[in-house]
């Protein structure tokens, strides 16, 4: 039965951990950047093995149809970002923004973060999942502050404090879930193992479970960047290195979302517990509306796209909150497309900010004239993220809206208004960024175009033709999410 001589789940965890340890020891930027790419590629290849061979869940790890989607996406974007990071970081070293010591630290932290995210995604123990998300968060906090400027330290501090409050709430929720499980399942480890919790959750005390979910939603929701709890997100995106902005938006937000989905599944199995849907719909809708209007007032290009991430996470949480096969399918698709598009945009933005030497939107103009490839890549990326057809996000947003119209027309109208507002803001900014007379440096840029156009090509193709295998898989997961 075993096609592979080793357990791929363990390899998904062991490779980033081993690479991180190795990167601490290796001096020299070229070698460590290469190792970072190699480690990430290897992790991605091993994740593909999970599709052909998965071990039964034990008390620590669990692989099912839901998290395999997250893991594969995580490893893929992790790999492409490491390729982008290699060229981006080289430039930072040249202009002296980073020293070799910090670079060594940066690369090690990159793999620690990948390890944390992978562990959170495969964890079957809700305590372990909490610890893993904390590892990933701490690693990103350290990387956000890596430039040591006043703004970067302030952003890292803000992220740290808000994430810590999130940490505390999520742990309190986890403790409450254990307390709800204890009378039914007895004391000890089984009260924290997700597969066993799901099997017995119908007999848990629903009220305790409700309170637990609210704490978990607020705690992990802080990390998803949902509206009242989002304050860390734009700063962390704007002040850290751009590869970190790409993985924050593309991956870490998804991992926190995954934790919420796991607990949503738990609540759905208890007939007397509250339905998590309306809470998620509200938080999601508030985030979309808030972020859409905030987009107009951004002057920093990375902040602009950070707010766009809040908007998209809002749409995704909204879709999962609506529930049902169609909305869940749309949510999954939206999540995948957003991860790919947003990281592609940050790849382009990273190179643009480097060549122009600024992140101010008003000081960047006429990119399609001065840097045609980068400029048009940005145009394509922004069109995709704004939801223009025929790109992938158009399809997923269309599905979210149409499935909502059938069930809650008022919410759908609000959502459409927010989407249009965001669309307008993004196109208005894009107009200035991409067209007109070039401003600032027109020096040629040594960009890594492969990950950038790779992501955009996938998004374009997915908008026109989704492979049936993927559709069937997503439909199956959507059924599972209920």
């Amino acid at each position: 039965m075993t096609l592979v001589p080793f357990d791929p789940v363990l390899a998904v965890l062991a490779i980033p951990a081993a690479t991180a340890a190795l990167l601490v020891l290796v001096p020299g930027y070229r070698l460590s950047a290469g190792l970072n790419v190699a480690g990430s590629l290897l992790t991605f290849l091993v994740t593909l093995l999970l599709f052909i061979q998965r071990s039964p869940p034990n008390s620590y790890v669990l692989i099912d149809d839901l998290n395999i989607v997250f893991i594969a996406l995580n490893a893929f974007v992790g790999f492409t970002t490491s390729v982008f990071s290699a060229s981006y970081i080289g430039h930072e070293l040249e202009i002296g923004r980073l020293t070799p010591t910090y670079l060594r630290f940066y690369h090690a932290m990159y793999q620690v973060m990948m390890f944390g995210m992978n562990l959170a995604l495969v964890a079957n123990n809700i305590g372990l999942m909490w610890v893993a998300i904390e590892i990933a968060t701490l690693a990103t906090v350290l990387m956000v502050g890596i430039y040591r400027t006043h703004e970067a330290l302030e952003a890292a501090w803000k992220y740290f404090i808000l994430a810590s409050v999130g940490i505390a709430f999520a742990l309190f929720g986890t403790i409450l879930v254990y307390m709800a499980a204890r009378p039914v399942m007895g004391e000890g480890y089984q009260g924290m193992i997700w597969t066993m919790l799901v099997a017995h959750v119908a007999q848990f005390d629903p009220e305790l479970l409700n309170i637990a979910f609210i704490f978990l939603l607020l705690g992990y929701g802080t990390k998803v960047g949902l509206a009242p709890l989002h304050a860390w997100l734009p700063d962390a995106h704007a002040e850290g290195p751009t590869p970190i902005s790409a993985v924050l938006s593309g991956l870490l937000l998804n991992v926190a979302l995954y934790a919420i989905l796991r607990f949503k599944l738990l609540l759905a199995r208890n007939p007397h517990a509250l339905s998590p849907g309306p809470l998620m719909v509200t938080l999601g809708l508030v985030s979309v509306l808030f972020a859409a209007f905030m987009l107009y007032r951004r002057h920093d290009i990375k902040r602009l796209f950070a707010y766009s991430s809040i908007e998209h996470m809002g749409i995704i949480v909204f879709a999962f909150g609506m529930g049902g096969a169609l909305a869940n399918f749309a949510g999954l698709l939206q999540m995948t497309m957003h991860s790919l598009t947003k990281s592609a945009i940050f790849f382009a933005v990273g190179h643009i900010a480097q060549v122009k030497g600024t992140q101010r939107i008003s000081e960047i103009r006429g990119l399609t004239v001065s840097h045609p490839l980068l400029g048009w890549a940005l145009v394509l990326g922004v069109m995709a993220i704004a939801g223009l057809p025929p790109l992938g996000i158009f399809m997923s947003e269309f599905l979210v809206v149409s499935s909502t119209f059938a069930r809650a027309p008022v919410l759908a109208v609000l959502l459409v208004i927010a989407l249009l507002v965001a669309f307008g803001a993004l196109l208005m900014r894009l107009q200035g960024l991409a067209f007109g007379e070039p401003v600032g440096s027109v020096a040629p840029v040594r960009a890594s175009y492969v990950p950038l156009f790779g992501h955009l090509a996938i998004v374009l193709v997915a908008g026109i033709y989704l492979p049936p295998v993927l559709v069937v898989w997503f439909q199956h997961v959507a059924q599972m999410l209920g």
Binding site: I95, A168, I175, G186, D205, I211, A238
Partner: protein, 220 residues
Amino acid sequence: MIGFDFDVAHLLAGGLVLVSFLLLYQDRLSALLNIFALQAFVLSLAVAWQAYVQDAPHLYVTAAIALLFKAIAIPVALHRMIVRLGIHREIETVAGIGLTMLAGVGLVALSLVVLLHATAAENALAREDIAFALSVLLLGLLIMVTRRNAVSQVVGFMSMENGLVLAATGAKGMPLVVEFSVAFSILIAFIVIGIFLFRIRERFDTVDIEALDRARGGNR
């Protein structure tokens, strides 16, 4: 004997809430740190009592961490730090003390109402413990919200964490409690070191930072 066990646990958990209230209105940093040390001390007593009542020896480790690390090491380190940074007389409260206390009372009432109602099926000890723990957690959050100084924010966070430890030890037989408290201690150590470095950067390395800013071409 059950009655006595319960009374002591109740006394200690209630004491923790009371000390949280004391933290709310301290208007000097050094006093804040002293009260925090007192809170950590009460916590270690509460945890040790739970270890004894539940017959769970591993909880003594958590109690020891609370005593040695949070009641002694961290307050001493922070005391030295605020003296070196010259901010040991400062404190800034955003809202008035009366208002803050009122909000604190409201939060405690809220957590008692919510949790005592929800955990009706639990035994009395766990019920009250978890309700007190939530009160301590929310009061810690209130401290974080009402203060602007980094050191007092950290005190607020540590006070939140004390609430979490109380909750985790109150949930009988909960696995990973010791691991959680170790993980949190590491986190707190990180934060404290972070503040220290952050301040130093601000004070002594300004030249360096300006050079970096020029390289970026402006602040934003």
